[in-house]
């Protein structure tokens, strides 16, 4: 099983996915769980290609900030505007790309943490989002300790 956090540490709450990975690095994870800090969704493609079960932790723009949601692939926004960069892929595009080029991509679980749109260049999370990061890390940890992601969905 792999767990990947996405984000940009210099964009405040957008770095919450990376913060969750940081918290999990300090936790007592079962053997066989790998952690990944990613800056670009395209980096998900080789992870998905391993055929292992995986969890993607990322920020989503939604109110109120600090709410953690567990989503499936079908619940992600498929519009092209969901891509954060014109020279990059959205998370969903990365998953679809992986499915097109790798035969054994397993369904992915998304742990989405709601944030407000970052408006300034700074490091660190707001208190609500930091609390959500702790909650998300605990959720992923409990799931990994329970033996897999099949129990992650509430």
């Amino acid at each position: 099983m792999w767990v990947a956090g996405l984000g940009q540490v210099a964009a405040g709450d957008d770095g919450v996915g990376l913060r969750v990975i940081e918290l999990l690095m300090q936790a007592d994870l079962p053997e066989g769980v790998s952690l990944h800090r990613l800056a670009d969704p395209v980096e998900l493609v080789p992870l998905l290609g391993t055929g292992e079960a995986g969890v993607v932790v990322d920020a989503v723009l939604a109110a109120p900030p600090g709410v953690t949601r567990v989503l499936t692939e079908d619940e992600l926004d498929p519009s092209p505007s969901a891509a954060v960069s014109s020279h990059g892929l959205s998370v969903l595009q990365a998953v679809r790309l992986a499915r097109a080029i790798h035969p054994a991509v397993r369904p992915v679980t998304f742990v989405a943490i709601q944030i407000a749109a970052p408006t300034a260049h700074h490091h660190g999370l707001s208190p609500d989002v930091e609390a959500a990061a702790l909650e998300a890390a605990a959720l992923v940890l409990a799931t990994a300790q329970a033996g897999g992601i099949t129990t992650l969905r509430p």
């Binding site: 395209v42 505007s81 954060v84 960069s85 020279h87 595009q93 679809r96 790309l97 097109a100």
Partner: protein, 431 residues
């Protein structure tokens, strides 16, 4: 009286940044062509003033997430020119290796993920992967190899942090680079195998007579060194740029248009490098070009896809050779006295020549800065290409004409900036 046809793309997709396109065609003649860049200006040249000269590679790298190395190289060169610091050959080769990394990741991204879909009639790389998973898989591997090279030499993949005026903060160890050699070699093989596939695409007919502008060096394919040359006779050191080129404000765009003084628009980028510097390509790149029948002169902008493919092979081949011969330099950087001065720098970003000029005071603080990016230089030429394409656009169904016009813009891999955007098309028939 025939009707005018307006092709309007409110948001250009698969280019970097926020731009729109309007083409009005009547009787097969372009009445109006506007590539509008509406992304707000970012005022880098303004806020560089008052900053220390050592800050410039890190600040200017932030202009672009796709070609930060180009900004770092041109800015460092300009500062070294102002200060009279001479960077020795081993560090020049390391800079060249870092530049290879940027070309590899940028060209692989543009060719396979942004431009190839145009030729195959699919919307994006995800659809392309459903048709040709083997080539998309290869492209992702090539791009990852370029990113890894950037990480090892530059400290990280995006906005490298290891570049400083005078060289690098730290030179990579031999073993770090050697570990990447198998990936570089297999990426080279993938790029060589992909070029004949790319050559099977249907390339629209269009022959242009651009003035081509590039750096040119007698012994190496241009990255950081040489003179600024043009197909129309310019041959000057970097300091000659202001004598021959100028930037103009255009009402419809937030980006300046660069022109050759007294002549007008010009073309910088892979087509200029390939046509004017073909003799300095390595044997591997030349052999691949010959294999697909790509010769100079090549003045069809749509064939820029193939030219980028040749340059991708060149960058991978050079990277293999530099890594194989690499010996860490005795010192990772040079330094010298700081004094007032003006310096010029230029290098070849993946999408064209990037010129910087700075003036610093005795304390090393910047008092004036000029940055001329490749997309500003190519903007007028993109519009000229669309005018030349107008007779074709007039005969195509509107949807196909819109597709072709966007494809013509993407021939240039324009880098308007790093920004979120999306595609929204609107068609208008005007009388």
């Amino acid at each position: 009286m025939s009707e005018a046809r307006t092709i309007k793309v409110d948001y250009l997709a698969r280019v970097e940044g926020e731009g729109a396109l309007t083409v009005v065609v009547k009787d097969g003649v372009a009445q109006d062509v506007r590539l509008s860049i509406f992304e707000p200006p970012r005022f880098y040249e303004g806020f560089l003033r008052g900053r220390g000269f050592r800050e410039v590679p890190d600040i200017t790298a932030r202009i672009c997430g796709i070609c930060p190395v180009a900004y770092q190289m041109s800015s460092c060169q300009a500062m070294e020119d102002a200060l009279g610091w001479v960077v020795p050959e081993p560090l020049q080769r390391l800079r060249r290796l870092l530049y290879c990394g940027e070309w590899i990741e940028s060209h692989a991204l543009h060719m396979f993920m942004l431009h190839a879909p145009d030729f195959l009639g699919v919307q994006d790389v995800v659809a392309l992967a459903e048709l040709h998973p083997e080539w998309v898989k290869a492209a992702l591997h090539i791009k990852k190899t370029g990113n890894e090279l950037m990480r090892i030499v530059g400290g990280r993949e995006i906005h490298p942090i290891n570049v400083r005026v005078g060289g690098f903060y730290r030179a990579p160890r031999k073993a770090e680079l050697a570990a990447l050699l198998p990936d570089l070699e297999s990426s080279l093989q993938e790029a060589q195998a992909a070029l004949p596939w790319l050559a099977t695409f249907d390339y629209p007919e269009l022959e242009r007579d651009w003035e081509l502008v590039t750096l040119k060096h007698p012994e190496e394919y241009p990255f950081c060194r040489g003179n600024i040359v043009s197909s129309h006779g310019i041959d000057v050191p970097f300091s000659g740029f202001p004598d021959h080129f100028e930037e103009r404000h255009m009402a419809h765009s937030n980006a300046l248009h660069a022109v050759v003084k007294a002549r007008g628009h010009y073309h910088t980028g892979p087509m200029a490098r390939f046509n004017l510097c073909f003799d300095t390509l390595g044997e591997a790149a030349k052999a691949s070009a010959a294999q697909v029948g790509l010769t100079v002169p090549c003045m069809n902008p749509f064939k820029s896809l193939l030219v980028r493919g040749v340059e991708l092979i060149q960058a991978l081949d050079e990277a293999v050779r530099i890594v194989a011969d690499y010996r860490p330099p005795s010192e990772p950087f040079v330094e010298g006295p700081v004094h007032a001065g003006t310096g010029h720098g230029a290098s070849e970003a993946p999408r064209g020549m990037l010129y910087h000029r700075y003036t610093i005071d005795d304390a090393g603080l910047i008092t004036d800065a000029v940055i001329v990016p490749p997309t500003a230089q190519n903007q007028g030429t993109i519009e000229d290409d669309l005018r030349a394409l107008a007779p074709q656009l007039a005969t195509l169904p509107l949807e196909d004409a819109t597709w072709r016009a966007e494809q013509a813009v993407r021939n240039y891999d324009p880098c308007i900036s790093c920004a979120t955007h999306f595609l929204k098309l609107r068609f208008e028939e005007a009388s």
